[in-house]
Structure formats: structure tokens, C-alpha cells
Symmetry: none
Subunit: 207 residues, 4 copies
DNA sequence: TATGAATGAGTGTTCATTCAT
DNA sequence: GATGAATGAACACTCATTCAT
């Protein structure tokens, strides 16, 4: 009802603006080759303002990695809650949601890869991502195990299967770059599923 | 018995030393965060010497990417020549060789990923890698097609299958970092194979 | 009483300080042998500050050449407006003003000579100076022509006479270096005048 | 008669080749912006060979300035011996020879100017040139004095007249650059003469 | 003697960070 | 809080000089 936003709200928006610009530029140009000045320009704020919201460049990078991670977490950690049906259907649904999620924020996947590629450079962030992965593996473990019991999935160790799936997602981001189309990602969903168990042709179901 | 090395030979060795150091450091720290001085120190030469062998830092990076690529090419481009048996056996053998190849030069895979992640930054290198991939896809196409005809492989478009395989390799490099063991890579070979066709358990064969 | 200087004014002054230091050092040591750090030190600022005001060393050199040129232009381009009397008196007056002008900013003359000596190195600056000279020649043309008509000046082509005059000024800067005194420059004014027409002894008038 | 040159002769020629290249490049690009490697290339010798003949870059520059100076000296120091007739004729002849001399080696004049412009940078060379000028002034003094006695020349101090003449030559090199033609230099000879005494039109005589 | 590889001092430029306004 | 000027550490690259061959 009030015409002017509250001061708090204004600040929150400016912070979000900067963070969004940071994710974009860090992912495009890498941490080292992204000057703070470029982030400020992209965000439409002055150079000094960036430092008002983020103490240092490293802090800005941390926030760029961790804050979007929180938004993605539900899709990876709330397996039983979000997906339903028998294990095969659950995994199908999960892949669908997760790949869509990443295909909508490909920038962000690049950021993650920068951290994964240099664990010594970003130890704290790396640990966060590692934890993220391990929780995912823990959560999906029973689903895979159940699927194996039902003869739907390969009998290999569930963590291995889970990791191969994550690897494929990461690798896809590197492999398909310029002419990105949803079609490719959709086709890839089947391939992802095949890491879990033999699937002759599930294309229509993955759309 | 041995005469002293020829000047040419000495130069070749020093160049190789520098290149090796560059691949190592570029892959560990990224292009932007690797000072030439660090490469020189790693190679045991003065930093001025690096410029004797490589005009600029960019040229050194190019060489770091392209020269090892030549060594790897045979494993990817001489499909029919190198691998034998029916399509399933050929692909098994190929995966075995290629994954071993990369697991022995994990540094190098990181370099490739830096290029793939920034096509605009490294347009010439990106094109080389893109060509490399496309030739691979062309070469493996008939093998996959034949396997499909024999009912061994999934019926999806062969290029799609090939790309998913490359994605998995790339992604594996990001996913398995610190505690690298041959075991993980070996287990992953089965997963890679499953992108081509249903394979209940081929572990013993992939060793 | 005085309010503190406005930010704009402060910036203008700092810029002028740097430019002044640059003119001094560039003229003394030449462009290539003047480190930016030396200019900064002379101006009493950190070397980073120089880059705040001048994008590159080349830009600083350009400004060092072009900005003082603007101050000198009136003495060379507003011939009819500034000088009066018959052609002989006008030229006398002009030489007096121009030589005084240069004798007060001998540093600057050295800068100009660096540009004149290397047209390919400083093409844009050279063109500016060339234009400057050509406009001067155009402006003084009618004065010389009139003086020739009155039998005061030699009958050679006015541009030739004008150029010989400019050459003398330039050469004087090279010839008289250490023990500069106004006396020499004053004596030279007569010699300059004699390039225009025969002047038995005009010393007293040139003072 | 002997087919192969003596070793001494070969060395002398190589040295001359290097020196010639040095004069050319130093005059075109300045001392600081002329790498030794460029001189070597221009001379068609290897990089290291330059150091065989000239200890350091400074020594090479010194030789580039001093050795051609010796060749030019006769034209400036053997006034009475070389030129004949009454003072006016002598000076005419002298100007003719000297300007021709410089118009044939304009490169060299640039080198001289580099030294003149930076006495503190090249103290020894500067002294040589200063001595050269002073000897010239001494030698021409009686000629001018005699011309003054005969009513041919202006009555100003002979050293002043001599210096104005040298200034004009130096300045001409700076003023006429790109479209150099002998015509301009010839026309300038009259102007040079007019610094000594009133000359209505001596063009035909200066050719 | 001729060569050019090895070296490292020197310098232009970038950019994170600080801080006065 | 917002701004952007000031600072100097860091780094790519050049090039004179040395020296082994």
C-alpha cells in the first residue's frame, strides 16, 4: 500500500542486483578475470557500493556460490518428499526436475565447476559443495537400493551410480555450449536415467 | 659412449620441461592465476627463458592445450584401426583406453575444461576442441549404428550417445578430485558403457 | 573565509600537476626514458593516480603536447587581430611575442621536437602540429605579401619564408641549451626578422 | 688481385655495416626505442655479433654520432682552405656544401639532435658536438668580420650570426620531413645566407 | 669469431581495497 | 549509505648483457 519501499527492502534488492551480476560475470569470465568494477557496472551501481554489501571480492564469490545453492538444495535433498511413485518413476521425476533446474541456471553450474576444479583455492566452498553432494548421495541411496531390489536398476553401489549421474550433469554443461536448446537437455535426461538402469526408450516420459 | 646432447635436442627438452610445468600449473590454478614466473620456477628456468620458447603467455597456453591433444587424438580418431571385435567389444575397449588415458593425465582434462568453459575467451582453442569432438563423433558413428543394428545399443541418435559419453568423462574429472583412485575410474567405465547400451554387469571385463 | 575547494576543482588541479610534471620530464628525458613512476613522483602523487587521470602513457604524452599547444595557438593564428602597424612592424611584434612565448616554455618546444622527429611514431600528434603550422602559414601569408608589395620583404614565396622562420625557432631550442639567457633569444629575434627582409639593425626595437 | 678479402678488411666492413644500420635506426626510432636486435637484423648480422664490435649499446651510439662527425668536420672546420673568393662568395659556397652535406645524411642530423636535446644524458657526446660548434665559430669568425668590414654582412657579433645559421640548419631538419625534396633545401640556402647579410635574390647562385 | 640461449632488472598497466567526501 | 579518487602490490613483457658452444 505504501508508495515507497522500506529502506530494508531497498537494500535487499540492491544486494540481490549485485549478486545476480556477480553470478553472471563470474560464470562467464571466471573469478580472476572479473573485475569488481565490471560487476558494479553490470548491476548498475557504483563501484564502491559493491564493497558496502560484500566486504571483499572473495566474500562476493562465496555468496555467489552459496546463496543459489540454497535454492537448488530442495531438488536434491528432499528426494522422498518431492518425488513419488516406484523408484524408477521417482528417479525419472528427479532427473527431470534437476536437469530443468540446471538448464535454467547454466551460469550457476559454471560457478560450481570453478570451485570443483580448484578445491585448494576455495576450500570452504568446496567443502560446502562436497557436503551437498554427500547429502544427496545419502538421500538417494535408499531409493536406488529399493530400485535394485525390484530389479529396475543396476546392482552397482548406489553412491557410484549417484556420482556418475552428477558427473554427467556437470559434463553436459561443458559439452553443450553455444547452441543450447532444451532439446539436447531433454535427450540427455534419458542418458542420465540409463546410468541407473536399462531404459530402452523413455523419451516420451521424460518430456 | 654418448656424445653430449645436440643443441637442438637440449632446446627440445627445455621446451618440453616448460610445457609440462605449464600444463601442471595452468590446470591447477587456472590460466589467469598462474604467473609465468611460477611456470618458470616449476620448470627450473628463469622466467625470461619462458619467453624464449613461447612468445606470450597466451601462446604458452595454446601449446599447453594443443600439443597434448595431438597425443590423445589417436585414441579418439582411429576407432576402427585401434579397436576390434563386435561393436560392444569395440566400445568397451575404447572406453577402457580413453578413460585410462585421461586418468593418467588428469591435469590435462582440467585444461580442456577451462577452454570449454570460455569459448569466447579462447576462440581458436575452442574451435580445435570442437573439431576434435566432431571428428570423434563422425568416426564412432558407424560403430554405434552397427551396434544398434545388432540390437546391442540403444536406438537413440549416435551423436547424442557419443556426446553423453564425452560429457560423462568431462564431468568425472570435476566430480572425483582429491581421493582419486583407479578404482573409481574403473567403476565409471561401466557407467560410460551403459550410455551406449544396457549392460547388466560388465565390471570384470572392463578391468 | 574560503570554503574548501570543490571536488571538481581539486581534480582539475591534480590533473594539471601531473600534466606539468609530464611536460617537464618528457621534455628532459624523452618519452621512452621517462617512467610513469617518475612523473608521479615529480607531481607528488602515487603512480596509480596518474592512471586515474590519463588512461595510458601515450594519452599522457598526447595531452602534454596538445594542451599547451592550445595556449600558444593565439600567438600564431590570430595574426591580424593581435599585431598591428605596417607589415614590418607586425612581423617584428609577432616575432617578439612568439619567441618570448617559447623562451618561457622551452620545455614544451622540446616536446614538439620529439613529435616532429618521429612522425610515424606519433602520427596523430604530428598531424596536429602540421595543421598548426599550415594554419600559421595561411594566416601570415597576406601580411608577407603586403610587405613584399611595399618593398619591405624579400620576394620569395611567403610559405618558404614562414617555414624558414619556424625552422629557426626550432633550431634555436637545440642550439642554445645550458647557458640560456634572454639576451641570446633577444639577439635571435633580429636574425628571425632578417629571414623576412633586410634589416640593418633593429636590435633596439626588438627589446 | 687476391680473390678473398683480408680478414682485417672483412672485419672492417662488418663493423661499418653495423654502424650504418645503427645510424639509420637510432635516428629513426631514437636510442631508447631501438633494440640492439633491430640493428643486428638491419645489418644482416647475428645479434651477438653486434657486441663483438661494440661493447655496449652506449658505445654503439657514441660511435654512431662521432664517426660520421669526423667525415663532416672538413666542411665546417677547413673554412679558409675549402672555400674561396670574397666573404660573401665564401659563405655562399660554404652554405651550399654544408646544406648539401646534411641533405644527403638527414638521418645523421637527427642523431645529433638527440644529443643536443639531452646534454645530461650524453655529456661526453654533447661536449664533442659543442667543441665542434665552437671550432666552427672560431674558424668562420674572421670571414664574417672581413665581410662586415666590406659592408657585405650585418654588423652583429659573428658568433651570434654563426649560431643562428646552425640553428636554422637544425630546425630545417625538424620542419621539413615527409615530402623532402632538394628544392626546399635549395630555397633554404638563400634564407641561410640572409642571416649573414641582406641578399635580395641569390637563388640562381646557390644552385 | 659468430651465434643465440639464459638471465633478470625495469616498466606499463590492472585492479582490489581503503577512505575522504 | 553511496561514491569514486588514491594507493601500491602483482604481473606480462622487453631487452641489454653475459656466456657457453
Amino acid at each position: 500500500m505504501s508508495a515507497s519501499l522500506s529502506l530494508e527492502e531497498k537494500k535487499r534488492r540492491k544486494r540481490a542486483l549485485i549478486l545476480e551480476a556477480a553470478v553472471k560475470l563470474f560464470s562467464e569470465n571466471g573469478f580472476a578475470e572479473t573485475p569488481i568494477a565490471a560487476v558494479a557496472k553490470e548491476a548498475g551501481v557504483s563501484f564502491g557500493t559493491v564493497f558496502t554489501y560484500f566486504e571483499t571480492k572473495d566474500v562476493l564469490f562465496q555468496a555467489s556460490v552459496l546463496e543459489p545453492l540454497e535454492e537448488i538444495k530442495p531438488y536434491f535433498h528432499e528426494i522422498e518428499e518431492r518425488y513419488s511413485g516406484n523408484p524408477m518413476e521417482m528417479v525419472k521425476e528427479m532427473i527431470h526436475c534437476q536437469v530443468d533446474q540446471f538448464s535454467k541456471s547454466m551460469d550457476y553450474l559454471r560457478l560450481i565447476q570453478q570451485v570443483l576444479a580448484r578445491p585448494d583455492r576455495y576450500p570452504a566452498l568446496f567443502k560446502e559443495l562436497d557436503d551437498f553432494v554427500n547429502v544427496f548421495i545419502d538421500k538417494i541411496y535408499p531409493v536406488i537400493a529399493e530400485g535394485q531390489g525390484m530389479g529396475l536398476f543396476y546392482k552397482d553401489a548406489p553412491p557410484l551410480i549417484a556420482q556418475s549421474y552428477l558427473s554427467l550433469i556437470n559434463g553436459m554443461r561443458l559439452t553443450f555450449i553455444d547452441d543450447y536448446t532444451n532439446l539436447v537437455w531433454n535427450d540427455m535426461k534419458i542418458q542420465a536415467l540409463r546410468l541407473f538402469g536399462p531404459v530402452a526408450d523413455a523419451r516420451e516420459e521424460m518430456q
